[in-house]
């Protein structure tokens, strides 16, 4: 498999979307009378029912204060975290398309690129490159995050984005039960190493069911927004040094890399509850990699297991209702101060499995995986200035349990991040 296989597939997807749109334009009647330009939250153009397009711009720039760790790579104070542009809309009113490009990621600049349509009542089909349906935090848009960084679970254990096809929909009214089930070329980009992208492996299957058990219960009005879900993934894992990653908040690897081979299986559970201005969210994940024939004498080794969880809470002090996208009731300089949100998150990522060994006996092909963990407290305040701008300050405390050979700081470590976010 050539090294740029994934990139070329993504580029082909872009071409398909563009050609499809162009062919529709070519066949459309003179449309000057039907063309409608709008600018509500973002600029959009409608060619009647034939074609619509709206442009989204996402920009996140960070100023960071990380601890001084002389053995790790130096980090810049200013970090242009995300600069993205997306075009999305509908074709013939039935097919939804989305094309998104990141300007700060030169290795894989094309992000979500997909077509989506409803084929039956309660059955939508989506194809292209997009987030696999695993991990609530990971599948939440980066502009709708409560904190500056994804959770460790979402960043390193959830599969992330992949190329594939997915069916999704819901049963019963009020989304009582929603489902997503997809098949993807391989594991997602969160966990895929550059070498792994070159290998052709069997598909990865991913599924998630989300239930809103109280959505129809009038007596439990405060609990109607509560939803809980379960997800799994199962895919082939080629032989190699492809175990899951794990990084500290400043971005230094702290999880021991070990040889794996066989299957990678994930289980995840999620909970979200948004009573009024309060938001509560929690997830737990477990990933198991098999290690067939990976011992120093070619013997099978015990599975390597990584676990992560988080629980977070937010409160919109200015009284807006907690939603994915917060729009201040009284924007700054427009009769108010914007919306202020306070939040806290506690999370932990840990690895370590197999028999406990003398420290000198841990290695990439040893039966035991050295126990490492990062326990992280994040507290933050978000100021939604208006519907376009948001300022966020996070103070983060890590309590690291590191590899004996690690050159990073153990124990409590403090970081600070300040983000200026613009969305159109």
């Amino acid at each position: 498999m050539p090294a740029r296989a994934n990139t070329s597939i993504v580029v082909r997807l872009v071409i398909v979307v563009v050609v499809l749109a162009a062919s529709l334009f070519a066949g459309a009647p003179p449309a000057s009378a039907q063309v409608k330009l709008t600018f509500d939250k973002h600029p959009a153009i409608d060619f009647g029912d034939v074609f619509t397009a709206s442009v989204r711009v996402k920009s996140q720039n960070d100023w960071r204060g990380f601890p001084s760790e002389p053995e790790s790579d130096p980090k810049n104070v200013f970090d242009p975290y995300r600069e993205r542009i997306a075009v999305e809309g509908r074709i013939l009113g039935r097919v939804l398309y989305h094309v998104e490009r990141e300007f700060h990621d030169t290795s894989s600049p094309w992000k979500n690129i997909y077509l989506e349509t409803r084929v039956l009542h309660g059955v939508h089909v989506q194809g292209g490159q997009f987030n696999m349906p695993f991990g609530l935090d990971q599948t939440t848009s980066l502009m709708n995050q409560d904190f500056n960084y994804h959770s460790l679970a979402g960043s390193f254990l959830a599969p992330g984005r992949g190329i594939g096809v997915m069916a999704f929909g819901d049963f019963f009214k009020k989304n009582l039960v929603a489902y997503e089930a997809g098949v993807f070329r391989q594991d997602g980009d969160n966990t895929r190493s550059a070498q792994l992208q070159d290998l052709r492996v069997a598909p990865t299957f991913v599924g998630r069911i989300v239930v809103k058990p109280f959505s129809k219960w009038q007596p439990l009005n405060f609990a109607r927004s509560m939803e809980t879900g379960f997800a799994f993934s199962d895919g082939e894992l080629p032989a190699g040094l492809y175990s899951l990653k794990g990084q500290t908040i400043p971005g230094d690897a702290f999880v021991q890399k070990v040889y794996v081979n066989g299957r990678r299986q994930r289980l995840g559970a999620q909970l979200q509850w948004r009573p009024g201005p309060i938001g509560v969210q929690a997830e737990a994940m477990r990933v198991r990699d098999t290690r067939l024939g990976q011992g120093i004498e070619d013997q099978d080794l015990p599975n390597v297991v990584e676990r992560a969880w988080y629980v977070s809470g937010t409160w919109l002090a200015t009284g807006e209702h907690k939603k994915d996208t917060i729009t201040p009731a009284r924007p700054f300089l427009n009769g108010g101060y914007g919306a202020i949100e306070l939040g806290a998150r506690l999370e932990r990522l840990s690895t370590g499995s197999g028999p406990a060994l003398n420290p000198a006996l841990y290695g990439p092909r040893s039966p035991g995986v050295f126990p490492t963990a990062d326990l992280v407290w994040t507290t933050g305040v978000n100021w939604y200035v208006n519907k376009f701008f948001e300022l966020s300050l996070n103070v983060i405390r890590e309590d690291r349990t590191l590899l004996r050979t690690a050159t990073l700081s153990s124990g409590p470590v403090w970081s600070r991040t300040f983000r200026v976010e613009f969305g159109l």
């Binding site: 120093i296 004498e297 006996l361």
Partner: protein, 417 residues
């Protein structure tokens, strides 16, 4: 009653103070003895590398990469687990019988094998006798030049303990080597990497960037380019600026001219074609600058290309190196060089080298015959060894004859002594 109690207290205190020293002493005695056993060449040791079959395959497939793989190193029942192995070498690098470097502390901080942090397994790809490197290093050592210890080993690999042939095992030039030879390890050590197309011989290079790819730092690796390379450039400037008739005056603080002369003499007596004055410029050495000093020293490395020709004049390529050229063109230094040639020739023809060559040949012959990966036939191996022994017998006379032909007074004064 008081005195016995005080005596007991003093005794206890003495034991408490001395116990750690005793422990360290025992460790170091054990370490030196064991490392010596592996590297003194008195026996043909067996090394067993426990390595995953896929990794062994990948090492060969991706032999151009510097990728490390985990390996358990076993020797005489001593197993160093979770070591790291990678393919090494430049012109000897190949996928048939690669050379290896084993780092005992690659995955486990501080792990070593009786004090050795790493070992090199050389394939002797260019040397059918398999003796050139080892015998050269022994000659350097006997002439007072610190050089890495080497020995032959039989290599076995994998769970099935398959025989992978004879290798020359060498200690690496590292902090351990520096401590053993100079009683310090905090200076600046560089490995010289000759670049394709170079024919370098101490010619001045004003740009610091020029030195970066050629002098790979092995200590103080994270220091700034200026800290690492300004002293190297200063040394080169001193070589160029030194007056030919009094090299020590300008150069003495930076390089010991007499030591350099001895190194040149050893390499030229052994007909080394890829050393300090080889056909492609300087090559195969480390540079060590002593801690807190300007003084540097060259340490020989990889002498596979010695024993090249019986009749090679020991003045070959002296003109291509700035310092060697000054030595050769100044009578007092040329005489000193010729005298060291004679010293080395005496050593070589004393019978020691021939006996050692014969002993090592007998030691490895059966193992080399069975070597499944050697690129040479048995005849080539035997003939190459016969030449090494002949070289050891006759080279001294060739060198003496050469000195007599160009400076008979040096030979005469030596005889008078």
């Amino acid at each position: 009653m008081r005195w016995p109690r005080i005596r007991s207290l003093v005794l206890l205190l003495a034991v408490a103070v001395c116990a750690p020293m005793l422990r360290v002493s025992a460790q170091s005695v054990g370490a030196v003895t064991s490392a010596d056993t592996l590297l003194d060449g008195s026996a043909l040791n067996d090394i067993w590398l426990h390595i995953n079959a896929r990794d062994w395959q990948d090492l060969h497939t991706n032999y151009q990469d510097g990728t490390y793989y985990p390996v358990d190193f076993e020797w005489q029942g001593v197993k160093v687990r979770n070591s790291g192995i990678r393919v090494r070498g430049n012109t000897t690098r190949n996928d048939h019988k690669p050379s290896f470097r084993i780092d005992f502390n690659r995955y486990v901080d501080g792990q070593d094998l009786f004090g050795l942090k790493a070992l090199v397994l050389n394939n002797s790809w260019h040397d059918p006798s398999m003796l050139h490197d080892d015998l050269s290093m022994q000659t350097f050592q006997k002439m007072g030049i610190p050089a890495p210890r080497q020995a032959h080993v039989r290599l076995y690999v994998g769970a099935a303990r398959e025989y992978a042939g004879v290798y020359v095992i060498s200690e690496e030039i590292s902090k351990t080597f520096l401590t053993a030879n100079f009683r310090e390890d905090n200076g600046y050590l560089y490995e010289f990497h000759r670049q394709d197309g170079d024919n370098y011989g101490f010619q001045e290079q004003p740009e610091l960037g020029w030195y970066i790819p050629r002098f790979g730092p092995k200590t103080h690796e994270t220091e700034s380019v200026a800290n690492l390379y300004t002293p190297v450039r200063t040394l080169v400037e001193a070589v160029n600026e030194a007056r030919q008739d009094n090299l020590e005056d300008r150069l003495g603080d930076y390089l010991d001219v007499r030591t350099f002369i001895t190194e040149l003499a050893v390499q030229n007596v052994l007909a080394q074609t890829d050393g300090l004055v080889g056909g492609v410029g300087m090559n195969n050495f480390y540079l060590y600058r002593f801690a807190g000093k300007k003084l540097s020293m060259l340490i020989p490395w990889d002498q596979d290309n010695s024993f090249s020709r019986m009749d090679m004049p020991p003045s070959d390529n002296m003109g291509t190196n700035v310092l060697a050229s000054k030595i050769w063109n100044e009578p007092k230094y040329r005489d000193a060089y010729l005298a060291r040639l004679l010293d080395t020739a005496d050593l070589v023809s004393s019978g020691w080298l021939e006996q050692e060559a014969a002993r090592e040949y007998e030691q490895i012959r059966a193992a080399v015959y069975e070597d499944p990966l050697t690129p040479y036939s048995r005849d080539e191996f035997d003939q190459a060894n016969a030449f090494v022994q002949q070289f050891a017998r006759e080279r001294g006379a060739v060198v003496r004859q050469y000195v007599a032909s160009i400076a008979p007074e040096v030979l005469r004064s030596r005889r008078l002594r």
